[in-house]
């Protein structure tokens, strides 16, 4: 467990929780990134601006962190282009069909004690861990 970073994990997690509380308090919306993004694809009236700005802020928050000299100046994304495309497609399709992702179900849904979200989170975490086991330890 040499890579374990509990303090920055808790601080970052708390910020994500604050963001979710903030969006519900001010705009009455759930901070599920897949749902916010998906809503841009066939938007109703008044549904484009806030969604686009939230996502812009998401990228901007990381950009500000980097400019301010944050510790994580580079990241590593591994996988061939076909794997990246298949992975992205499955994540989009799955979160679209299952009504959201790690933030929507894992953070906001569990915070609302929604049984749907608790089940979804256990299923996607389990499948993700199973997939990593297969790619790293069975095939790798």
């Amino acid at each position: 467990m040499e890579n374990f970073t509990p303090v920055s994990a808790l601080i970052g997690g708390a910020l994500i929780g604050i963001s979710a509380g903030f969006l519900l308090w001010l705009n009455g919306r759930i901070a599920g990134i897949s749902g916010i993004t998906g809503g841009l694809l066939s938007p109703g009236k008044g549904e484009i601006g806030w969604r686009a700005l939230f996502l812009l802020g998401l990228v901007g928050g990381v950009a500000i962190y980097r400019l301010a000299g944050g510790g994580l100046q580079s990241i590593e994304i591994t996988g061939s282009v076909p794997i990246l495309l298949i992975g992205g497609l499955l994540v989009g399709l799955g979160t679209g069909i299952g009504d959201d992702c790690t933030s929507g179900h894992g953070v906001c849904g569990i915070a609302r004690l929604s049984p749907r979200s608790i089940v979804a989170t256990l299923v996607f975490l389990g499948l993700a861990a199973g997939t990593v086991f297969v790619t790293r330890h069975v095939m790798g």
Binding site: G17, F54, G57, V62, A120, A128, R136
Partner: protein
């Protein structure tokens, strides 16, 4: 005001993903790899976020309406049904393949990597297909 609130909310979220390092797929894969050199950090991120959101939601939902809106838009589905499970299965496999879920995938665009662009393009395509199926 709704726009400024959304932008600020996104900025705080993005900052949280960067500070917690969840924007780095290797950090997430380190958590998902239970039989390898396991890194429990993601539990602390999710736990911290859930505890704060749980308290915040309780306080916020004492109000009748949000500050800048007519009503709270909360999910109305309660059934644990096929689409929920099938969706979670597909999402889990995709997440495990690359280590990116939707928030970090979009936030990682700030690193300007070609890999991010491929992934997000496919993510949008997947969301588009799901909307047609739903």
């Amino acid at each position: 005001m709704r726009s400024i609130a959304a932008l600020a909310g996104g900025l705080i979220f993005g900052l949280g993903l960067a500070i917690s390092q969840m924007v780095n797929p290797q950090k997430v894969l380190g958590f998902l790899d239970f039989t390898g050199d396991w890194d429990p950090s993601l539990v602390f991120v999710l736990g911290g976020a859930v505890v704060v959101a749980f308290i915040a939601f309780r306080l916020v939902l004492k109000r009748d309406t949000p500050v800048f809106g007519a009503r709270f838009s909360l999910p109305d589905k309660t059934r644990i049904d096929g689409p929920l499970i099938i969706g979670a299965v597909l999402f889990g496999v995709g997440w495990g393949l690359v280590g990116l879920c939707p928030g970090p995938a979009i936030a990682a665009l700030a690193y300007g990597m070609e890999e991010s662009v491929w992934f997000v393009a496919a993510l949008l395509a997947g969301l588009g297909i799901a909307r047609r199926l739903n």
